[in-house]
Amino acid sequence: MTAVAPDLDVATREALAELLLSVADDEFIIGFWDSEWTGIAPMLEEDVATSSIAQDEIGHARALYELLGELTGQDPDRIAYGRQPDAFRHAALLNHARGDWAFSAARRYLYETADAVRLAALARSSYEPLALLTGKMRREETYHLLHAEAWLRRLADGAPDRLADAITSLWPDAQEVFAPLAAEESLVRAGLLPEPMANLHATWQARVRPELEPITGALPADAPTRDGRERRTDAFRWLHAEFTSVSGSEDGATW
């Protein structure tokens, strides 16, 4: 394994690891939640599309866990499957079970738009492996976002009340994609994170409010919170038990 980012001091390296973990866990967990639709999506074509997008997200998580592994020397599979629920750092938006189709579609829209803002910033990261990977991810995420937007429009027309309820209930936790990182200042100073989360959050709100408020009415002025990536729920603990069931039954299993 080649030494990556040897010029980073220990504290900055740890801060970078926290950033990578937060993005990786987001992609990993939304991938698992959306894969819960495999076999039961509203129509066959949508079933294939949703499953494929969920797979893409898990693929992105894998690439990010590998980057993290290069930085910390950990095994990417162990990072993904070897942690207890409380050690995950995904945003609270991803703590909820998939719910009905409107709920999943609303979450995908909230997440994809937030992810797009975040990735646009990370593409300019001074940590070159991350900037390169982000560039690749964005090519797929562009499609994911178009798909999420298509569903938002369809449901706004066909099931506006259900969609509005889903968006309104997810809105506070959606802010947490931009929850502040513990050592964020040093990340921003080093250009590893080109913009503070608070700026990205403002960019995202400015983008989604005009799309969402015609559906929901005025949305409250929620903001990210300190523990936005640390709160865990029973729904997530259930999902964690699901996705660790194989690694848990046979440690180090390969196939």
């Binding site: 949508e46 294939v48 178009l146 798909h147 027309d157 066909g158």
Partner: protein, 102 residues
């Protein structure tokens, strides 16, 4: 914005590499053009197997399958190129071309 709710069938054509012909790949059901594009991409492009897709609403296709027009009952062999021996004519033409340049 009114969204059309009826599902429609979309025929999908794919091109494997730049310059290749567009070949019929199959079809997808989708309620609108936008989702048709996503589904076509997932069904016929997600493995990187396509350079380009054409997605066409089936009801936008003009179909001709009238046997009277396509398989008329009379002998059509005179409309096929087979049966004409042009080998000797070609050879003669080549000889003339060579003679002319000498």
């Amino acid at each position: 914005m009114a969204v059309e709710r009826a599902e429609r069938i979309w025929e999908v054509f794919r091109q494997e590499d730049e310059g290749d012909p567009m070949i019929h790949a199959g079809n997808v059901n989708a309620p609108d053009e936008e989702l048709a594009m996503h589904y076509a991409r997932e069904f016929y492009g997600r493995r990187g197997e396509s350079q380009r897709l054409w997605i066409v609403a089936r009801d936008a296709i003009t179909e001709l399958d009238d046997v009277d027009l396509l398989k008329p009952p009379f002998d059509r062999s005179h409309k096929k190129p087979g049966g004409y021996i042009i080998k000797h004519k070609l050879e003669a033409a080549k000889r003339r071309a060579v003679d002319a340049t000498e």
